[in-house]
Amino acid sequence: MSKQRKWNPLEPFARTSLALALLLWLASTASALALSADEIVDRANQASYYAGKDGRADVTMTIQDASGVERVREFTLLRLNEDQVKQKFYAYFKAPADVYKMAYLVWKNGTSDDDRWLWLPALNLKKRIAPGDKRTSFVGSDFLYEDVSGRSPQDDEHVLVEESATQYVLENRPKDPSSVEFSRYLVTIDAQTFLPIKAEYYDHSGQLYRRVEALQVETIQGIPTVVLSQASDLIRGSITRNAFSNVRYDIGLDERIFTERFLRRPPREVL
């Protein structure tokens, strides 16, 4: 849990309850049945998608096809947490030159459908994208929209299948199997950071067809952060790597940045 908590240190009751919570936590980690599968998933979800109040990162996305041909895209990703669930994302493209200034805006609404907008500078065109399948490729890469914004823990049933001092392995089965292309996926979660280290997806015939991995984790502003991630399409043989740099949290992003107006004129100071 990296969510910052504010409390009044002068409030004795708060201090007591903190001490109590700490004690309880210590007690619970001592036992093997410390955390339920749902709790682990929740914490993993928080760790990987909700770190800080807001954040930014420069992303270098390298899409390598089966024959080894590479396409590189560079964009800046801004994120703002609205509450425990709702988030807003802003992706601003810098390279290659032909997509310079292209921008995406996504409002993740949690229980209801996401809102999405798109800005194509060369066509002087702002377009809203109707809610649709979130499991479609993010700008042609092997990452899905859902990988970028997070899959709701409520969409799957989770079972803890393996637990060690260093990691948890969870098996996740979709509640509505016909709505997704996988029948289940296994996620390995680091027991210290709660960051998902590896997710392996199996199709409806039981074949492994997709893998998403965190290849490198760094602690930035005290927050364990994935700085190199990789998605592999095991059927087509393509691999996408996202390298994150200039990661910063809690930079005080203005909520107005995440509006249509800023698609046309990006917030220069944070890009």
Binding site: I63, D65, S67, V69, R71, P96, A97, D98, V99, Y100, K101, M102, L118, L120, P121, A122, L123, L125, K127, R128, I129, A130, G132, D133, T136, S137, F138, V139, G140, D176, P177, S178, S179, S183, H204, S205, G206, Q207, D233, I235, R236, S238, D254, R256, R261, F262, R264, R265, P267, R268, E269
Partner: protein, 1004 residues
């Protein structure tokens, strides 16, 4: 010497029999290892450049061979777009997507649970109900449930299936938003929903004419399969899954892979039925001629053993049984029978002279050794010459038939004598009435032959003139021969594959696929100077008057960088642009600082209740730093004084943008995008492809072409679509419609093109764009659908494209190449025709040389060649006149003709010379010729012709062709031998016959 083999088997008949039996069993043991190959692609060697290229293209664009499933509904008023049919299509699609291998190894369909519905499992077993088909499947190692790769994956590449349920659709949705989903995301529940699916499909250039027919009566599913050899089973699976569909929804399955694979399966059935039936027919005919079972049993054994040996060798050597080699039995049988029939026939004729089996055999073999050796050698030469064609399956076929002929000869020399020694009883021979072996002068055949002999002598001139006339006609016919083939046409017109092919090609743009690939020729071209020139003039035009000094600074840097590139090896354009961009950013900081600050400030303002005055006060701080810019802005905004809130803010931002024009850095990036764009992101190249497609649409057999440009135009249209206001009148609506139509085009700049392409890259069906363009946009692939798979039609399209490309050079040099199964067929066909002609010419010369050696005379050698020359000319003339395509079976027939017709001529000329030696004059000899010798030749001809009539019943055209032409060849070469040769001999008596003393003995 020549009797060595025969003597050995006469001495040890049992041992001979045993050796033959052991050898036969040894060859027979190879049979279970049989592997069938019905892929016409293998007509080309695996190293063939066009084949390698074809596979590169398949790999590069992730293309697969398709099983095409057409669903046609001509009864419903809504055509195919009625609720029930679309629901069925959706169900079928899902069933095919969720095909998997059950725990018992059999296929099963496991539909995942969906809201309210539990998981459903449908076990399948495609084993046919008919016991006969099951037996055949077992015999030929064909598993009808083989639908999975060795790794257990479905043979259907699920993620590449093309069906309304799983192809992308971009459409307008509420509030001017854009919806990206599948064309039939959910099966329709109401006619209105069905109509919506229809409209979406019809409005997509990639789907109209490919996925849905323009008459709205048919939908095609394209099922990509991991290997062509699955296509027959996949077709069976589809038939099984649609068995309970109503009559009104017709399911038609076609596509080259299915045709080829189905052909292979039916070929096996033909091998198992036609060849034995032909054997039986020959047997019955021989029985009719010789009326002695014991006599004709031996030739049948010879035929069967030679076929077994030839096929056993082929399988043992690891060759696949291809369509050509499946006909080995049919080709080999008549040839194998002929020699032994000659021996036995003569044996019975002369037995009474010796009254001793061994002595009679020695006499007969001694007598017939040379003609038999030569007829066998010429046949071997004819078939072996096929080894020089460039087509591997034809080489294998030719060599193995040659091997079989050699075996047949060997058996005739050994097995027949052994057979006589063991199984023909002396008593029976003694009882055998000698008279019956003499020609029965009253039989129809003998009367016809007698008449023919007279005519040939008395009307020799007229016969020769007639022959010459026929040759002239044949020459004309040959000039009209059209080389053509089409695997679908290997089926008879009523076959379900032909029917499906016909109906689907009426409805759709065509079910035959070819790929036209366009690739840039010089991918590494740098053209630094050219680029610098363009950038310089652009920069002057845009910034020259506004920022003359900054513009010069930028241009200076530009040339400095460009010059550096010339001096270093290679060139890194992107590095150049990066450095130029640094310069541009510096300039921006100086030139646009004020405006940028101003625009940023406005950007963050709250638009609620904003007025001009409020804006003025909000910008006071900025005004202190950039007074000029702020003043400029408010001067411009005076015209829109009435604007409030968000509109005012937008207007203010727009004014800032306008004043700034573009920044230097944006300009540099734009120039980078435009000047370094790969060919298929360049608008001018894409428009060129568009024009090429328009041209192709007008070319004969092309029904439809699809390219990345179609996808691009559709996406650009939908992205830019502006809905008319709800209260708009007709004129306004038309204005909007026209505006929207103008966006159904290639965007104006490379950057715009690239940005639309990025949207297409992120569609729901991943990577579907990359079937049409490579990921680096340096190569493009046009999917050309043809309504006919005839090679001739494909050739026409190839020629038309070549012509177009020459007449209309592309804006940037490109190389166009073809791939696809339809095109591959053209290539091997062309090779086959040329190969056959040279192989025929080669074997013709070899046989001529043999004849000259045999007859020790050039004249006689040439004479021997005449009937077969006449036959080949006439047959091919007939093919040309009848408009029958010159295809593979027809091409191979030439070698058969060569091998069979020469036999008649050898026997005829040899006997003629013998008789002349005895009688001393041609008139008497000629008469005698038309008794026993002519009868033997006629019987042989009849055996072969009639023996192969069962082939006419086959449902496969190549078998019919072979059956028909074998009969015709026999008839023609029989007539040519019995008419042209005697007529010529009559005319040339003085020149060709020498006095008995002068003539050399033909036998050694």
């Amino acid at each position: 010497m020549k009797l060595a083999l025969t003597n050995a088997s006469l001495k040890r008949p049992l041992l001979t029999l045993l050796v033959v039996a052991v050898a036969t069993v040894a060859f027979l043991l190879q049979f279970p290892r049989v592997n069938f190959d019905n892929d016409p692609e293998n007509m080309l060697s695996a190293q063939e450049p066009v084949r390698i290229f074809h596979h590169e293209i398949k790999e590069k664009y992730a293309l697969y061979d398709f099983v095409i499933v057409g669903i046609v509904n001509e009864e419903d008023p809504a055509g195919i777009f009625n609720v029930a049919t679309l629901q069925r299509i959706d169900t079928l699609t899902r069933q095919l997507l969720y095909l998997q291998q059950g725990s018992d190894g059999l296929p099963e369909i496991r539909l995942p649970a969906s809201s309210g519905q539990p998981e459903r499992v449908q076990p399948l077993n495609l084993t046919p109900a008919s016991a006969w088909l099951r037996l055949l499947n077992r015999a030929f190692n064909h598993d009808p449930n083989r639908l999975f790769t060795e790794q257990g994956r479905s043979a259907i590449i699920a993620h590449e299936v093309i069906s309304p349920s799983v192809v992308d659709n971009i459409k307008q949705a509420q509030l001017g938003s854009l919806k990206l989903e599948y064309l039939m995301e959910h099966p329709p529940q109401t006619p209105a929903q069905a109509r919506e699916i229809r409209d979406d499909a019809m409005n997509n250039p990639l789907y109209r004419g490919t996925l849905v027919s323009e008459d709205e009566k048919a939908i095609c599913l394209y099922l990509p399969i991991s290997a062509k050899s699955y296509s027959y089973n996949v077709a069976t699976l589809v038939r099984e899954l649609t068995r309970d569909w109503p009559q009104s929804d017709r399911v038609l399955i076609t596509g080259l892979p299915v045709a080829e694979d189905t052909f292979g399966v039916e070929m096996l059935i033909q091998m198992a039925t036609s060849a034995p039936m032909a054997g039986v027919a020959i047997f019955l005919l021989l029985l009719l001629f010789f009326r002695s079972l014991s006599l004709i049993l031996a030739p049948m054994v010879v035929a069967v053993v030679s076929v077994v040996c030839a096929m056993g060798l082929l399988i043992g050597l690891g060759y696949d049984v291809h369509i050509m080699s499946s006909m080995i039995a049919i080709f080999l049988m008549p040839i194998a029978v002929a020699d032994s029939v000659h021996i036995l026939s003569e044996f019975y004729d002369v037995y009474h002279r010796f009254n001793n089996k061994a002595q009679t055999v020695r006499y007969v073999v001694g007598h017939l050794f040379q003609p038999m050796l030569y007829t066998s050698l010429t046949t071997i030469a004819g078939f072996a010459s096929l080894a020089f064609t460039p087509i591997p399956p034809v080489q294998v076929f030719g060599l193995h038939v040659a091997f079989g002929v050699a075996i047949a000869w060997l058996l005739t020399m050994t097995l027949i004598p052994a057979y006589i020694m063991l199984f023909v009883s002396q008593e029976k021979l003694a009882q055998h009435p000698i008279a019956s072996q003499k020609p029965d002068e009253t039989s129809l055949l003998m009367r016809v032959l007698g008449w023919l002999g007279q005519v040939c002598y008395t009307a020799s001139g007229r016969i020769l003139v007639l022959a010459l006339l026929l040759l002239l006609v044949a020459g004309y016919g040959i000039s009209r021969i059209a080389v053509n083939d089409n695997p679908v046409k290997w089926f008879t017109a009523q076959h379900e594959i032909r029917v499906a092919d016909r109906i689907l090609n009426q409805h759709f743009g065509g079910t035959y696929t070819a790929y036209l690939t366009l690739a840039e020729v010089r991918p590494d071209a740098c053209n630094c100077e050219e680029k610098a020139q363009r950038i310089e003039s652009e920069a002057r035009a845009r910034f020259g008057s506004l920022f003359p000094q900054y513009t010069e600074t930028l241009i200076q840097r530009l040339h400095q960088l460009s010059d550096q590139q010339r001096s270093v090896q290679g060139c890194d354009v992107n590095q150049c642009f990066y450095l130029l961009l640094q310069q541009a950013r510096e300039l921006d900081d100086q030139a646009f600082d004020g405006w940028n600050r101003l625009a940023d400030e406005i950007n963050y303002l709250d638009s609620a209740g904003l007025t001009l005055d409020w804006l003025r006060s909000a910008l006071q701080a900025v005004a202190a730093e950039s007074p000029l810019e702020v003043a400029h802005l408010f001067a411009a905004l005076q015209a829109d004084a009435g604007l409030r809130g968000e509109a005012l803010l937008e207007q203010a931002l727009a004014q800032c943008e306008k004043q700034m024009g573009q920044t230097f850095s944006a300009f540099v990036l734009e120039m980078q995008a435009e000047t370094t764009a790969p060919p298929f992101k360049r608008p001018e190249m894409l428009r060129y492809v568009e024009e090429l497609q328009q041209y192709l649409q007008g070319v004969g057999q092309v029904g439809k072409t699809s390219s990345a440009v179609d996808a691009l135009k559709k996406a650009a249209y939908e992205l830019s679509y502006v809905a008319p206001p709800t209260d708009a009148d007709a004129a306004e609506r038309e204005h909007y419609a026209a505006l929207n139509r103008s966006h159904f085009a290639v965007p104006a700049t490379a950057a715009a093109t690239a940005q639309v392409f990025v949207q297409l890259e992120g569609m729901k069906k991943k990577d579907s764009l990359f079937h049409l363009v490579t990921r680096d946009y340096r190569e493009a692939n046009l999917w050309v659908q043809l309504k006919s798979g005839d090679n001739r039609d494909m050739e026409e399209v190839v020629a038309a494209v070549q012509h177009y490309l020459e007449q209309h050079p592309a804006p940037q040099e490109i190389k166009a190449r073809w791939a696809g199964l339809t095109y591959l067929n053209v290539v091997w066909q062309d090779k086959m025709v040329k190969g056959m002609i040279s192989s025929l010419a080669g074997s013709f010369i070899v046989v001529l040389v043999m004849m000259v050696l045999l007859f020790r005379s050039l004249t006689w050698g040439v004479l021997a060649m005449l009937p077969l020359t006449f036959t080949i000319a006439l047959i091919y003339g007939l093919i040309g006149l009848a408009g029958k395509d010159y295809d593979m079976p027809v091409a191979v027939l030439s070698s058969l003709t060569l091998g069979l017709s020469i036999d008649f001529a050898i026997h005829f000329l040899q006997r003629a010379r013998e008789l002349y030696r005895k009688t001393g004059n041609w008139k008497t000899s000629c008469e005698a010729m038309f008794h026993e010798p002519a009868r033997a030749i006629s019987r042989n001809a009849l055996t072969v012709s009639i023996g192969f009539t069962p082939l006419l019943l086959a449902p496969l055209v190549p078998y019919k062709t072979v059956g028909f032409f074998l009969a015709t060849i026999m008839a023609v070469s029989w007539l040519a031998t019995l008419m042209i040769l005697p007529a010529l001999l009559t005319r040339l008596e003085r020149y060709v016959f020498r006095l008995p003393g002068e003539e050399e003995e033909i036998q050694l």
